[in-house]
Structures are given as structure tokens and as C-alpha cells.
């Protein structure tokens, strides 16, 4: 069973159109949804949870269509962390636990307490007194305390210092290590996704530009470094994006099709995304 299956999903706003696109997240995997601000990442997550009505297509979560009456039951098995935790500022972590205990039938108060302890979150401190890192940790503690099988993380690591990001990425990787778990994490910090994801989906201006296994992606592309004259001689069909300066040129190319004798380096995921995001794609 796939954790998420999206087919032909579309959503139209007055000034923004998302999709149509297909996307699949298999169980036991972490999928990174990358894209610039306003690319449609948060909208996609809201559409997956039916928190916004879609205009077209199908979305299935843990094997259930998200518009069916049974989806409410499925929501019990999905942990969501938003870019802002969206908790009223006067509420404490302890009170949030009491509220969520009424939302989730499988709420595990002891597990929540353990997560608060692990993240060093004072249970009686008001939310407004928490730092940005603490608020995100609180959201994650809540998402992990009701036996979720799927985690949806919307910019859960943005605005955090590297130490906290590292700690949280470890938590997500551990979670996804179970065969019946899966994680979808949206971020514009591509280096974070490179560390923890199995699949990468790239949203650009509401369109899904790619969705591939991360390792395949890193194998498929190469970063060609040469002179502008040498680049001009390369078959344009091989080039996926380029940057030409006065003294040198750099281009994202199909590694297997790259011309022999020129320097082709292994790109980072960020290189691939940045080149593809440019409008110089073939």
C-alpha cells in the first residue's frame, strides 16, 4: 500500500493554479517536496488532508480516498506539523495535550510526555514563551503521540538553527525506518531534504517538475564545468540548465550523455533544483 497516491490533482485560486500532477509516496519512505515560496507545497499538503477542497483529480491517503466519509478515521493516523504550530499563545504544552487527547482516539499521553521530555519542553510554560525551535518541537511531539503512520511536515525545519534541524531530521528518519510508516516533508532547505529523503518531488509555480528517487536523480545529472566556447559545442538536448560567465561556464547535463574529456562533477540536490528552476530548461 502507498501512503499517498495523487492522480491529476488540481486546485485553482484567483491568482494561482496548482497541478495537474501525479505523486506517489510508498510506505517506508521519506519524500521531500521542494520548491520556492509560493510554489504550492503548503497547498498540496492541505489538499492531501482535505483541509481545502480540490478542483480535480484523486487523492488517496493510507489507501482511502480523502473525500470519503472514512477519511476522518484515516486522519487519526496522520501526524501533521505546519510551518507555524498555530497554537493559541496562552496555551501550555500540557493543555495542548489535553485538547489533542479529545481529537485523537489513539492519543498516548505518556508518549507525549516522553517527547516533551526528550525535546526539553517545559509542560507548564505558555506557548508564547517558547522559542521558534521549541514551537516546532511541540508540533512534532504532538504529531508523534497518536500512533501516526504518516507524517506530513510543512516547512517543519525552516527558521531553525542547524543543531535543532539535525535533531529533528534524525527523528523523521527514525520514524520512517518502520515499513508501515512514511513521511512527506516540504522544505525549501534542499540540504535538509538531501540528508533524509528517499524521493524528491520538485514543485515550481504550481507544477510538478520532477518526482524521482533521490539517488537516481543524483546519478542521472552531472555538473559540467568548462569554458563558454566548449559549452557552445555541447548538444543542447543534453543541457538542462546553464550559467555562462565571462571566464567559465557551468551546466547541468545528463551525466551519461556528457561529452568526454570535459570535467563533470557530481551535483548536489540544490544544484539540480536550482538549475531546473531556471527557465532555461530544454
Amino acid at each position: 500500500m502507498n501512503a499517498i497516491e495523487i492522480k491529476g490533482l488540481t486546485k485553482q485560486y484567483k491568482d494561482f493554479a496548482l497541478g495537474p500532477f501525479d505523486l506517489t509516496l510508498p510506505m517506508g519512505c521519506v519524500l521531500g517536496l521542494v520548491g520556492e515560496n509560493g510554489a504550492g507545497k503548503s497547498t498540496t499538503i492541505r489538499l492531501i488532508m482535505d483541509a481545502v477542497s480540490r478542483d480535480g483529480g484523486q487523492v488517496s491517503v493510507l489507501g482511502t480516498d480523502n473525500t470519503s466519509p472514512d477519511f476522518r478515521q484515516v486522519k487519526e493516523e496522520v501526524g501533521v506539523v505546519l510551518d507555524e504550530t498555530c497554537v493559541p499563545e496562552f496555551i501550555t504544552a500540557k493543555q495542548l495535550g489535553k485538547i489533542l487527547a479529545g481529537a485523537y482516539r489513539n492519543w498516548d499521553g505518556e508518549a507525549y510526555g516522553r517527547w516533551l521530555e526528550r525535546f526539553r519542553l517545559p509542560p507548564d510554560k505558555k506557548y508564547k514563551e517558547y522559542s521558534r525551535g521549541m514551537t516546532m518541537k511541540l508540533g512534532i511531539a504532538a504529531a508523534l503521540s497518536h500512533g501516526a503512520k504518516l507524517l506530513l511536515l510543512d516547512e517543519a525545519t525552516s527558521g531553525l538553527d542547524p543543531m535543532v534541524r539535525e535533531e529533528l531530521l534524525e527523528v523523521f528518519t527514525d520514524f520512517a525506518a518502520h515499513d508501515d510508516h512514511a513521511v512527506l516533508i516540504s522544505s525549501h532547505i534542499v540540504s535538509d531534504l538531501e540528508k533524509c529523503c528517499d524521493y524528491i518531488a520538485f514543485l515550481h509555480k504550481g507544477q510538478l517538475r520532477l518526482c524521482e528517487e533521490k539517488d537516481m536523480l543524483l546519478e542521472r545529472y552531472g555538473l559540467l564545468k568548462c569554458s563558454p566556447q566548449e559549452l557552445a559545442a555541447v548538444d543542447p538536448a543534453v543541457i538542462h540548465g546553464k550559467r555562462v560567465g565571462e571566464y567559465g561556464a557551468e551546466a547541468l547535463v545528463d551525466r551519461d550523455e556528457a561529452p568526454r574529456g570535459l570535467l563533470v562533477e557530481r551535483p548536489t540536490l540544490e544544484d539540480i533544483i536550482l538549475y531546473l528552476a531556471k527557465e532555461e530548461v530544454r
Binding site: M49, L82, Q95, I99, A103
Partner: protein, 215 residues
């Protein structure tokens, strides 16, 4: 839904304690019992509505839409909260009235009952009008629209009184002639109908707003 109410109580907790204490004190003053009653019922009206402002400010709606609650439960909890605070306001009036009998003049329970009934009808109707506006325009704009509506209603009512001034005794007489149980039954029917329609409308507006159709 109880958890949603719990959340609103946590949010209102501190301010509610102070306001309830003040309402109780006002209701203990012998010569200001109607002022105390008005204050208690105003709190009953305003407190639940202030929770919508808090929700907007922290974007609670974005989060709650991801949780296993239906839009009906989310919107319905606000109505239930309003009815609960109305009951609390009424209880405060009764408590104040009872306390005054211990150290002051004997209470007029008939008058108190009539006052509470009148306030419950009024606040119930205001609640029915207010929530769809708050969901449609947000708490800030919604309140402005509400003030405009009430100003218009006041002018209309004032106009009606001015027009009927010659026959005021007749109007009052005809109202008094209606049996109290019939008046109460009519009030309950109007109140229930208005709140039911208001709730249905609020759910529709909530869904449209969530889908970004008012952006």
C-alpha cells in the same frame, strides 16, 4: 467537540475569571441589579466571539482543519460555547439575586426571570446574526459590519416607536394580552430557528473561506 470547547476555555481562562468575578460583584450590589444583569449577559455575548479573534491571530483554523474534526464540529463548538456562556451569565444573575436576599431586600424572582428570558432571547438572536458575519468577514471587519447592522436596526426600531407613539398604550396593551406561555413558545421557536439557520450558514461560509473563495 468537548476538546474544542476546552481549548476555548483555556484561551479565555484568565480574562474569564476576572470578568466573571466582576459580573458577580455587580450582581451583588442591591441598587444595581439590572446593571449587573446587563454586564453578565454582555460578557456572555462577547467572550465566545473574542475566541474567534484569538483563532485568527494564531491561525488555529489552519491547524484544526488537519485534525480529525469535521467543519460542523469546529463551527458548532463556537455556538455551543455561546450557549454555555449564556447559561453561565444567567446563573450569575440568579446567584447574585439569591445572595442579595440574604442581606438586602427580598428578591423579585418574577422580574429576574423575565429579565433573564429577555436577555437570553436578545443575545441568542445577536449570536445568530453575528457568527456568520464573523466567519465571512473575519473578526475585525465582522464586528464593524455587525455595528452597522445594529445601528440600522436601532434606527428602524426607533422609527417604529416614533410612528406608534400615539398608540403606545394600545401597542403595550396588545402585547400584554398575549399569554406568557405563548410568548415564551414563540420566542423559543424564533430563537431555535434563527440559530439553526445561522449555524448552517456559518458552516457553509467556513468551508468557502477555507477553500480561499473569499480571498
Amino acid at each position: 467537540m468537548i476538546a474544542l470547547l476546552k481549548k476555548d476555555v483555556f484561551v479565555m481562562d484568565k480574562q474569564m475569571r476576572v470578568l466573571v468575578l466582576l459580573a458577580l460583584l455587580f450582581n451583588l450590589i442591591p441598587s444595581a441589579s439590572s446593571l449587573g444583569a446587563t454586564y453578565a449577559m454582555m460578557i456572555a455575548l462577547m467572550l465566545p466571539m473574542s475566541t474567534i479573534s484569538y483563532d485568527e491571530r494564531c491561525k488555529w483554523d489552519r491547524y484544526v482543519a488537519m485534525l480529525p474534526w469535521t467543519p460542523r464540529q469546529i463551527v458548532g463548538s463556537k455556538y455551543v460555547l455561546s450557549y454555555t456562556t449564556m447559561a453561565l451569565g444567567a446563573a450569575l444573575i440568579v446567584l447574585g439575586n439569591f445572595a442579595r436576599t440574604l442581606y438586602s431586600e427580598g428578591a423579585d424572582w418574577g422580574e429576574t426571570g423575565a429579565l433573564i428570558a429577555l436577555y437570553l432571547v436578545l443575545i441568542g438572536l445577536i449570536t445568530a446574526v453575528t457568527y456568520p458575519l464573523l466567519y465571512r468577514f473575519g473578526s475585525e471587519k465582522g464586528r464593524l459590519v455587525l455595528v452597522a447592522i445594529f445601528a440600522a436596526m436601532f434606527i428602524l426600531a426607533f422609527g417604529a416607536v416614533v410612528l406608534a407613539i400615539d398608540d403606545m398604550e394600545g401597542v403595550v396593551g396588545r402585547l400584554k394580552a398575549v399569554p406568557a406561555p405563548a410568548l415564551a413558545a414563540a420566542a423559543v421557536i424564533v430563537l431555535a430557528g434563527a440559530n439553526f439557520l445561522s449555524y448552517r450558514l456559518s458552516v457553509k461560509i467556513y468551508l468557502r473561506r477555507r477553500d480561499g473563495r473569499y480571498a
